[in-house]
Amino acid sequence: MFEGRRQILLLFFIIIGLVFIGKLFFLQVIDDSYEKAADNNAIRKIIQIPFRGEVYDRHNKLIVYNTPVYDLYITPRKAHVRDTLQFCQLFGITRAYFDSTCKQAKAYSRVKPFLFLKHLSKEDFARVQDAMVDFPGFTFTTTAFRTYQSKAFSNALGYVAEINSNSLQTQKDDYYRQGDYVGVSGIESFYEEDLRGQRGVKYRMVNSNGVEKGDFKEGRLDIQPIAGKNLYTGVDIGLQEYADSLMQHKVGSVVAIEPASGEILTMVSAPSYDPSLLAGRNFSKYYQDLALDPMKPLLNRPPSAYYRPGSTFKLIQALVGLQLGIITPSSVFTHAGAPVKCHSHNTSHNDLHNAIQWSCNPYFYHAFRKILYEDTQGNTYERSAQGLQRWSELVANFGFGRKLGVDLGNEKKGILPNVEYYNKVYKGENTWKFSNIYSLSIGEGELVVNPLKMANVAAIIANRGWYVPPHLVKAIGDNKVVDPFYKTPVSVGIDAKHFGVVIEGMKDAVLHGTVGGDGKIPDIVMCGKTGTSQNAKGEDHSVFIAFAPKDNPKIAIAVFVENAGFGGFAAAPIASLIIEKYLKGKVDRKAVEEKFMNKSYLPNVLSVTGLRPSKTKKDTLK
């Protein structure tokens, strides 16, 4: 009876078996999400963040380093505080804080460490360390803050901050995680990959309560952290501080370069900020203030501000004319027929030397006209285009309209107007001619530069025709690795013989020309050129570029002071003081020094921008 029912039952069992096998095939073979879930489950990745590299100045003075701070963690199950009062006194916390944090920790987990107190200083740590034997279940972990030896170098150095969500999503190699610190600007950002070192990873096995159960695969997969590389800069931190002090109460930039090496000796952006504000637990509080400050203390002006070069550009105009063979040192142009005025000088023999010494506008108007029109064919439109083409090719060699490649992320190209540029502006070929663009002759018009570029121009003239791309960092790491880019001289395509007359003109501009008495250094031969940069914001910017000494130059400099008027007034004396300080190690002209340290051009800046300095902003301005 009912023998057939065995077959029905067997069929039922087989179907169930097959359903199980099918489901298991899906779970184990097809769907791999469970494997990943399992790895996250049982293996805890412990990230070990190495110390960030330190930064040194050109004399191996430490300027940026790390200060360890200590975070206190509590593991509720192991924690035992016999004397709560003593504990609270030791750490300077209230009983209420103690109770509420313990409660939070217990609510989080009884077996996992919970952050109890953040950022204890080294001194606090040393003080409490011995007492900790009485308080089992408390552990410390070390993190570090960036610490700055000087307040004067903040803009070029940049700062370190928690990575923002945007950078987190757009990062290429998927290195950073939420909450990681990353260099945000300056060389902290540019050399991020060298400075950060290599994060270590430790794999520990944990059970379902999060309690560690030993190394995963005996630690074979662990990666040891590698400390960040130190940066050795060419910056003279003493000079930097001096330049910074001269730039107080002013808006502007100072860039000084060692001409032979391209090493940046000083890079000041004014106004600046105290870098320690952005290192540490109050980052967000201070960052808000600084970012909203209308004086833009976070902006690093030397590589990124926009200025017209003004009369300092006449030096390039002269060199281009000489190289093209269109003018010679003895070429003479009168004041007549020029729409631009000469300010005041003897015109009896207005040759090139004289024109540079006195910054003669009509001279360079005529010279530029000759550069455009001589040896060119066709009507004035066609000839202007041909002339501007050869002109812009040579000017571009000085770094105009392109990046020099400084080791900062925010370098701006500036503008060098060329034929295409004007064709675009005037909407078509042969629609413009010299009379439309003559402002270029004296460094106004559409030319846009930044202070770094002009300091490099001073270095090019000091070197008589070449430069090494300017850079802040001269060597990386203990092996002192150097990027060959910052070792290779670049020629600007102007023969060295043409520089003599220009340099002589610059020398006399300082001694008996446009530079006033405050800009003269008694025992140093400085070659300089003033500039007055017109701008839409109001009072002209004061510009000065120079190098010294005349023979075997050691320093090339560009100083921009916003809304300070004629170049000889503010920029030249400040540049002379910095050069004196660098070459002599001290400044003898105490009266000049004091005058310009205290001199404020801020009222001009504020009146043109319509700003009133507010109380809270005052302390961020220096």
Binding site: G17, L27, A42
Partner: protein, 429 residues
């Protein structure tokens, strides 16, 4: 001596080998589940016997003693004493609420020194024996109401007592006697109804009422379309179809009502977790999720013996008892679990084959009882580890850790093998 030799030749060694294989494989996986490389102990270490693997070794040893005892007892004893055995376990089940202790939230254990025994595990065997004895009565015909009621009472009594001690999972195992009764002539409607009810219940939980309605309409439509023309022309056909659909939808509604209103919170949650493990990933869903992670992470070939990370570090709760299948899945992969499932189905097939060889209806019915109980455990245990069944704390026979469980399955199986070895001595009725 000749008796002994006869016995050896008459025992079904295929079943015994599979049993030994399961128990050994189970022990190896229990060993792996509790294995800790840092505090690794060897079998000769006394402390080893504090661990689950060590204790299981004791249970295996004592099981061998039980097997010898069973074979030493006269085969007629089991049929003759079935009522007494049954009555004693009913008595124990009644006493448990008063004398028992609570382990893992279940007040169903007796404690003798350090040994704990769960009478519910053994009540299955007792019930199988009595039920088989009753079916063996010549006048019993399972298509008759009266006989069905008596059979239902034999099954229902221990079931109710077990539910009373909060062991719903173990109680549900008694539903497996449907397989025995079905084989012995219970009309097919009963298991059919049972399977149908379960299907409706599960669909009501997993699917929306509209999906069920749509599916029903499509299915009845197809059936009518495939029917002979004259049936299609009858008005009655459509009335019946409509009544069928309305009836089932009413049951779906009842299930919803029952789940949301009648069931207690923890029971409802167990069911909800089955539908959506992420419903409570740290609580009830945790077990299912972790179990699936452990099994799923095994891949095709597994992580290798003692290499599992999930089961070892307590991610899967009850890993050596109810969730031993996870360890197999994680360390031996799809290949390993497939072998286990295939061998288990083969094992059931062998038992059914042996049962059908019996001359006595008692032995045959008992054999199907064994098959039913083992199958039910197999179905629910593996089903719950892979998220196809709600979590009911019932072990995987022979594999899971636990003295009560291993002893009871050993007794259950070897009584049948004892009966089988005497099948030529039995009277055929």
């Amino acid at each position: 001596m000749s008796n002994q030799n006869q016995l050896v030749s008459k025992v079904d060694w295929i079943t015994v080998s599979l049993y030994a294989l399961f128990v050994l494989a189970g022990w190896m996986n229990i060993y792996s589940a509790v294995y800790n490389p840092e505090t690794h102990l060897w079998i000769f270490d006394a402390k080893f016997y504090d661990s689950n693997a060590g204790k299981q070794l004791i249970w295996i040893g004592t099981s061998l003693l039980l097997i010898i005892c069973i074979f030493a007892i006269d085969f007629r004893f089991f049929e003759a004493f079935a009522p007494i055995i049954y009555a004693s376990f009913i008595g124990l089940l009644i006493l448990v609420p008063f004398l028992g202790v609570t382990i893992n939230g279940s007040h169903s254990w007796f404690k003798f020194g350090s040994i704990t025994i769960q009478p519910a595990e053994f009540a299955k065997t007792a019930t199988a024996l009595l039920l088989a004895k009753y079916i063996n009565e010549p006048q019993v015909n399972l298509s008759k109401w009266k006989n069905q009621w008596i059979a239902a009472t034999i099954i229902g009594l221990p079931m109710i007592l077990i539910i009373a001690s909060n062991e719903t999972g173990s109680a549900l195992v008694f539903a497996s006697f449907l397989i025995m009764l079905y084989r012995e002539g219970l009309p097919g409607e009963y298991p059919g109804l049972f399977v149908g009810t379960v299907t409706i219940f599960v669909s009501a939980l997993l699917l929306s009422p509209w999906t069920i309605l749509a599916t029903l309409i499509v299915i009845t439509g197809i059936i009518i379309a495939l029917s002979p023309i004259y049936i299609q022309r009858l008005k009655q056909t459509y009335i019946k179809a409509a009544l069928f659909i309305v009836g089932i939808m009413f049951m779906v509604f009842l299930v919803d009502l029952a789940v949301n209103k009648v069931l207690k919170e923890h029971q409802r949650n167990r069911i909800k977790v089955l539908i959506d493990p992420s419903f409570d990933p740290r609580g009830l869903g945790y077990q299912v999720t972790q179990s699936k992670i452990a099994i799923g992470s095994g891949g095709f070939w597994g992580k290798g013996y003692l290499q599992g990370t999930q089961t070892k570090f307590d991610f899967v709760p009850e890993q050596s008892t109810d969730f031993i299948f996870c360890t197999i899945g994680e360390e031996h992969g799809f290949f390993g679990v497939m072998v286990v499932i295939l061998l288990f189905v083969a094992f059931l097939w062998r038992l059914m084959y042996l049962a059908d060889q019996q001359r006595s209806r008692f032995a045959r019915a008992y054999g199907y009882g064994v098959v039913g109980i083992l199958f039910f455990h197999f179905l629910v245990n593996i089903g719950m580890t892979i998220g196809l069944m709600p979590i009911m704390g019932i072990p995987l026979p022979f594999f899971s850790y636990g003295g009560s469980s291993l002893w009871s399955f050993t007794i259950l199986l070897f009584i049948f093998l004892k009966l089988d070895s005497h099948r030529s001595d039995m009277l055929s009725r």
